[in-house]
Amino acid sequence: MSAEGHDLREVKLYPFAMMRYTGQLEDVEVPAPTFRLESDEGLDRLVAEFDRIYEAINRSVSHYREAGHTITELGMIARVEKVKPKLTRRSLEGEIPPEEARKGKRKMYYGRAWVEAELWEMDSLRPGNRISGPAIVEHPATTLVIPAGDLVWVDEWTILHYEHGS
């Protein structure tokens, strides 16, 4: 989280346990009252919290404390306000993407036919660039397929706009 730019003092930690009555097949997520279970009393509090949540979800008749309780997992939720993305307005450049964005060509099967598609790197596109299909725009997290007739253009905020051809 600190690598993503969060102030660690702002991060709040919530411990939880995944629990069930021994023998059941589904867990209930139970917020743990403490980070360390160091006493019978701490464990009793966790178990009581499970019983409370379990009965709230499943109605009181469904408890079966006689079977005993099982903790299948311990976990922690770390919560912090998200860093809001900052959009930067840039001046528009030419319609043709820069050479470094160009990755060559490859065959693309679309609409029951093989076509030759231009291959682009998404991170290297500049504001103002326009790409007409058939083309494929690659990114480490996604792949944008543009069939023939469709168009993608990058606006001054570096947001991609997809337009279907008529």
Binding site: T22, G23, L25, E26, R59, V61, Y64
Partner: protein
Amino acid sequence: MVVVSKAESEPTALKDRLLESERSFRESGYYDGISDLRSRKSDPLKYESLHTKLRSVVVSAREMARRISASPGVREVGEMVVALYTPEGDAISLSTGIMVHVHTASRFIKWMIRNGYEASPGIRPGDVFANNDAFIGTVQVPDVIDVVPIFHEEELVGWVGAVCHELEVGGVTLGGDVALAQERFAEGLFVCAEKVGENDELRRDYQIRCERNLRMPIYWILDEKAKVSACIEVREQVKALIDQIGLDYYKRATKEFIEEGRRAQLARVRQLMVPGRYRGHTFYGHVVEGKQGVLPMGNRNFLYAIPFELQVSGDGRPHLDFDGTGSWGYHSMNCTPAGMDGGLFVTLTQHMNFDGKVNDGVWLATDMNLPEGTWTNPDHHTAATATSWALLLPAFGCFQRLLSRGFLARGYKEEVFVGQVNSPMIEMGGQSQYGGIFGMALFECAAAGSGALGIKDGLDTAYVGWNPESDMGNIEIWELGMPMVYLGRSITPNSGGYGRFRGGNSFTSLWLVHRTPQLIIATSEHSSRVFDNAGMCGGYPAPTVQLHYAAHDVQLEEMIDQRKPLPHSLGIDPTITDMESLVMGRVREVEGPYLAEPLEEGDLFAHSYNGGGGYGDPIERDPASVARDVENGYVTPDTAESVYATLLNHEEGVWSVDAEATGERREAIRKARLGKAVPVRRWLEHERERVARKNLVDEVREMYRDSMRMSPRFADEFREFWNLAEDFEF
């Protein structure tokens, strides 16, 4: 003059209502005398909206309950149903799942009302009643039903019921379907319409009874809690709905749903069927003689005849008649009228009434003759019913084929369905992998192969008659519950009945027994030596699973060290299984129910499930479909040639059809059939000689003797058909 005080008259109020409702149906022909669907007419949106809400309430309550259960049968396979009833016990709306039980729970509620439960033990808000006695209202001992009453202020306005199939019932053999029970007394824990809870809690003394009389009480008890939670959830939501729409509207509309369901069922039959008499026949073979644990009373092999007659009246009312079937016996396959209702209901809801108002109106639009003393209606409540599906499924599979003949006659070919077959159950117990004792039904049988349809192949590994939500469950979850690990779970080649459209294929599992000194397995509900279900229009019957394989002294570790191939299925060689050809130890082959010596750590066990029957002549099957089946392991290459008359070329893993050779082979088979054919009259004369001389194997002779003894009509028809003397008997 007798003055009846309010206090004295009240305890019979419900019984009077039940009798009144039955009387008005009898006299008017309409459910509860409702001749006019006025709520539906006056505001159809309000009416349909209530129906949809009630249905979503029961469906979501079932999903909630599945999270509470400890049973893979309920959580994984969905062996559960939740339904809403009128005060008299008629089903209004039901969830998905084991819809078999809609009318069985209905019988249970009516039984309590008829037997004076209002007076004692009393029916009060917060009460919970449970039952698993099939003679009161369920199918078999593992089907435990819970019901709770719904009160609006002081008035009982309905019931909610829930059923789970238990994986362990504490019977003489381990698991839920108690294979070796010959009488009620060996079937396990019975709860006979008992009040098991008060004030929305299950009584602790009832739980103690369960904890002390079951091998795996966690399954039963948490299922009880799951069911009661679901019932309370539905009850509270229904009460909230009544507060919104008013009690009078709720009562009227819910009764109209049932009357509409009744009319819809009749209309559907009129639309899909041709009135008249349909007859069919099916059989069931039970090979147990001399097996371990079989008590003297039932120590013989049974062959059951199930002649089936269906009369469809002009107004769309089917009448099912089991006259001529065999007597109940000292085995666990008997069925009660409640169980037969279950078979009827689940067949009709899947086969005919799947898109309408599925409720007890369907039941009111049908009737059955279940001759007293036969397996369909034992005249003694001590008869065991723990594996009643064994006979029930073949019977209602036959019903499906008779319905399908009607559909075919009307031109609804796409509705034709060859029907359901048994899918064998594995029950087991002994010492668990954790060191304690255990018992469990391995419910993966809930995903067998279906019968073929009139226009396409049956479903592969995705169908079972009793639960339309067919699911085999995850291997990993089953392995948590039993001391066996899977070496394989694979499609069984040739397990779909051959046909122009083949039956759905089933699967075979092969396990390594793991971390136990004693694992006892008992299987049930698979017919031996005879097919328990036929094909249609020239299709082959559903193959029946006959053999089990257990390997002892396997020395698997040595095989692994030597990098020898391990068996993962039974293989495709019809003359020898992989279990026999690959394993070094002693392989035991058991015909019919596996009732044999216990297994232990290191042993292997293989069990196959059933596929469905085929439709149409297999030599009319599209050859490309045969090639595809061979390529995917559904059909073996030798069967493609010998049964489907399809000649294939095989090159680099790709199978292609030799069209010319296939055409020639098919033509040759047609000619050969003509060459072999004899006139029916001559064939009958030949067969008559055998019958007249009683030259039949013992089981067949006994089967006919029993049917003739049980039914004078059957006996007369038998003598007339075979032209036998009037006093002929076996």
